[in-house]
């Protein structure tokens, strides 16, 4: 008998695969069930947002940002208007800043909830996915009341927010907080200690701190390696300096730490919302801004801590009402770059566990 002939197999995962969170395609070369190489193919959702922005006035760009990271659109809204405001050196009314913080942190909670649900679904547990959607629904309802949309909010404006909170809205948010905290405890009890879950995520897809920095990772992917880096703390924007919250970090940089950081970040976000609700002042929700928004000639970049990492907007202005060039630093896109490195040597069933923990949103990857 001759030697057993075996060869590598190319497996095409996606773009219509149930667990690629959208239209992500991954060409993996496998040897048995072991991954030899992984090659991400992106662009299936490319809409040319950056190019489109060049022919739009700044206010008109805001709804386009909704479509980037559609799980956390409030943060995208803010990233854009924040850069424009920074470029124009605008004064923002206090109340608007507080409203922004409240909706952004709620959106962060909604986004992380979505991650936990989708991640557990990837790992084969269906129930958490349906549970978290109940809480997310409450947040989405709150957003619906304040801005009239459930997913694409278009709520932020240069100089403030589109509308003040309707009467009773803040009380509803206040009532939501204890409910959410209780539910978080329940999810923690259901998921975090599950032996099967821990087996699948502990020590899986480890990123070292050096790797994280050299791949320019940000957000939870970076913090899970133990580095205390959160733009809300390290480079406070808006009124984040006023709030007292912890930056959650992991220790091992594995999938579990990424899960656990997001879990605890939700609690921190709820703390921020609580503090904001306590001290929100009265006043206008939209400051005085010129009818036609023009940015002085120059290059401007600001970034915020998005739900998935450093979300930055870089604007080159030639003094007109439209950007000459706009570049979006999309954290999902940057974080995705480490995926092939994480996957090599793993078995096929860990592919989904690792991809899920990086937590990409394809609208943001492809822009």
């Amino acid at each position: 008998m001759g030697t057993l002939h075996s060869e590598e197999m190319i497996l095409n995962v996606g773009p219509q695969h149930p667990s690629t969170h959208g239209v992500f395609r991954l060409v993996v070369t496998i040897d048995g069930e072991r991954i030899v190489a992984a090659d991400p193919v992106i662009g299936y959702l490319h809409r040319g947002t950056e190019k489109l922005a060049e022919s739009l006035q700044y206010t008109q760009i805001i709804p386009y940002t909704d479509r980037l990271d559609y799980v956390a659109a409030m943060l995208n809204n803010y990233a854009l208007v924040h850069t424009v405001e920074y470029a124009m050196d605008l004064e923002i009314p206090e109340r608007a800043e507080y409203l922004r913080v409240i909706v952004m942190e709620l959106n962060r909670v909604a986004s992380h909830l979505m991650f936990i649900g989708a991640y557990l679904l990837d790992l084969g547990a269906m129930s958490p996915f349906l549970y978290v959607f109940q809480e997310r629904e409450l947040i989405v309802q709150l957003f619906n009341e304040i801005c009239g949309a459930r997913l694409t909010y278009n709520y932020m404006r240069v100089g403030g927010v589109r509308a003040d909170a309707p009467p009773g809205w803040l009380a509803k948010v206040r009532a939501f907080l204890p409910h959410m905290r209780e539910k978080l405890k329940m999810y923690d009890a259901l998921i975090s200690g599950n032996e099967i879950f821990l087996n699948r995520v502990k020590g899986m897809g480890v990123i070292t701190q050096e790797e994280a920095i050299s791949y320019s990772l940000s957000g939870v992917n970076l913090r899970s390696t133990g580095l205390r880096f959160d733009l809300r703390k390290n480079r406070p924007y808006g009124i984040y300096g006023k709030f007292d919250f912890d930056v959650v970090t992991g220790e091992n940089g594995d999938c579990f730490d990424r899960y656990w950081c997001r879990f605890q970040e939700m609690e921190q976000s709820l703390n921020i919302v609580e503090q904001a609700l306590e001290s929100i002042p009265d006043g206008p929700a939209l400051g005085k801004v010129p009818k036609l928004i023009r940015i002085p000639v120059g290059e401007y970049y600001t970034s915020i801590e998005g739900a998935r990492g450093e979300l930055g907007v870089y604007i080159v202005s030639d003094g007109k009402d439209k950007p000459y060039r706009m570049k979006l630093r999309r954290p999902s896109f940057v974080n995705l770059q480490i995926l092939p490195k994480l996957l090599v040597g793993q078995s096929m069933s860990n592919l989904i566990a690792i991809l899920g923990a990086v937590d990409i949103v394809l609208g943001e990857v492809d822009a």
């Binding site: 269906m126 599950n194 699948r200 096929m348």
Partner: protein
């Protein structure tokens, strides 16, 4: 007690046997159909959903509608598939699933089922034939997902068959027989009561191995949707797909019935008729499996084999030793 095996094969008896078999088969097909409904309702309830409620009163006809739909679907055979194997695989998987049901004692007066003297062995032997159908289906589809799914199934089901068989041995030692009917009768007079009490270790091993055998969550790797799309039946459509689906649910029922028979005293119980007791206990086991299904993520592939070979088999062996010692000493 009456049993078909002891009867001479006359024309009258033959007709009796055929009628019995057809009645059991039809009844079980109905039960299995409602098992799917039961699963969807139970899981929906646990996930705060409503579940099927459109077809018929309380959605009771949903499963029938599903089966009808599958019957009417086009039967697609992929161009590059191995045609003959592809067509025959679901049947190979399906037939043993129904054959094992012949030995389950549903009632105290069981006319319709076979009181085989080697009932336990018969069940375990036949249920492993299904693996052939699954591997063939995965292989013949000529699809990478199917192939990986089929191979995973083979590895998993063969591995877990061993602890399953071993966990049953404790019961067999206590009862001193492989006949499922006699095992139930022994439990009526046993000093410990039902065998779940003296055989609690065996029961735990049996349940874990059973869930793995059924490819149920947390052992649903062969059809891991998030990784393998649909596993070995990815390429199957229409009624061939339904065959695989039915196989799964028939086994779900069969193994729950086996657990009831071996550990929970089968039809035994006061006041109520024996068949009702059997139905209640089997439903409880099935409900438990659905409960596990709704609350667990999927186990990691490389730990799957370790669990079978390094944990379950030693524990099952220890249980056999313990049972032997106890029956010697007590």
């Amino acid at each position: 007690m009456f049993s078909w095996q002891t009867q001479p094969l006359t024309g009258f008896n033959f007709i009796g046997m055929v009628i019995g078999a057809v009645v059991v088969l039809a009844l079980l097909l109905l039960i299995v159909m409602y098992l799917i409904f039961f699963l969807r309702k139970v899981v929906a309830w646990m996930q705060n959903r409503i579940g099927p409620n459109r077809v018929g009163p309380w959605g009771l006809f949903q499963s029938m509608a599903d089966v009808l739909k599958l019957l009417l679907k086009e039967d697609i055979v992929p161009e590059n598939a191995d045609r003959a194997l592809f067509m025959i695989a679901p049947i190979i998987a399906f037939v043993p699933a129904f054959m094992v049901l012949a030995v389950i004692p549903y009632t105290a007066t069981h006319i319709f089922t076979a009181g085989l003297n080697i009932g336990v062995l018969y069940y375990i032997a036949l249920s492993s034939i299904t693996i052939l159908g699954i591997v063939l289906g995965g292989w013949a589809s000529n699809n990478k997902y199917s192939l990986v799914g089929g191979l995973r199934s083979a590895a998993q089901m063969i591995s877990y068959e061993i602890p399953l068989g071993m966990s049953v041995l404790g019961v067999v030692m206590l009862a001193g027989t492989l006949n499922l009917t006699t095992i139930v009768q022994q439990q009526a007079t046993d000093r410990f009561g039902w065998y779940i009490i003296p055989q609690i270790i065996g029961f735990v091993v049996f349940m874990i191995a059973a869930i793995a055998e059924l490819n149920q969550t947390p052992f649903d790797l062969p059809e891991a949707e998030s990784e393998l799309v649909a596993g070995y039946f990815t390429e199957y459509t229409g009624f061939r797909f339904a065959f695989f689906m039915l196989t799964e649910f028939v086994y779900l029922f069969a193994i729950s019935a086996l657990a009831t028979t071996l550990f929970l005293g089968g039809w035994l119980g006061p006041w109520l008729p024996s068949w009702l007791w059997f139905a209640i206990k089997t439903s409880a086991v099935i409900f438990f499996m659905f409960w596990v299904r709704a609350s667990m993520p999927r186990i990691r592939t490389d730990l799957l084999m370790g669990l079978a070979w390094k944990v379950l088999i030693p524990v099952a062996l220890f249980n056999i030793l313990l049972t032997g010692l106890l029956s010697l000493l007590l």
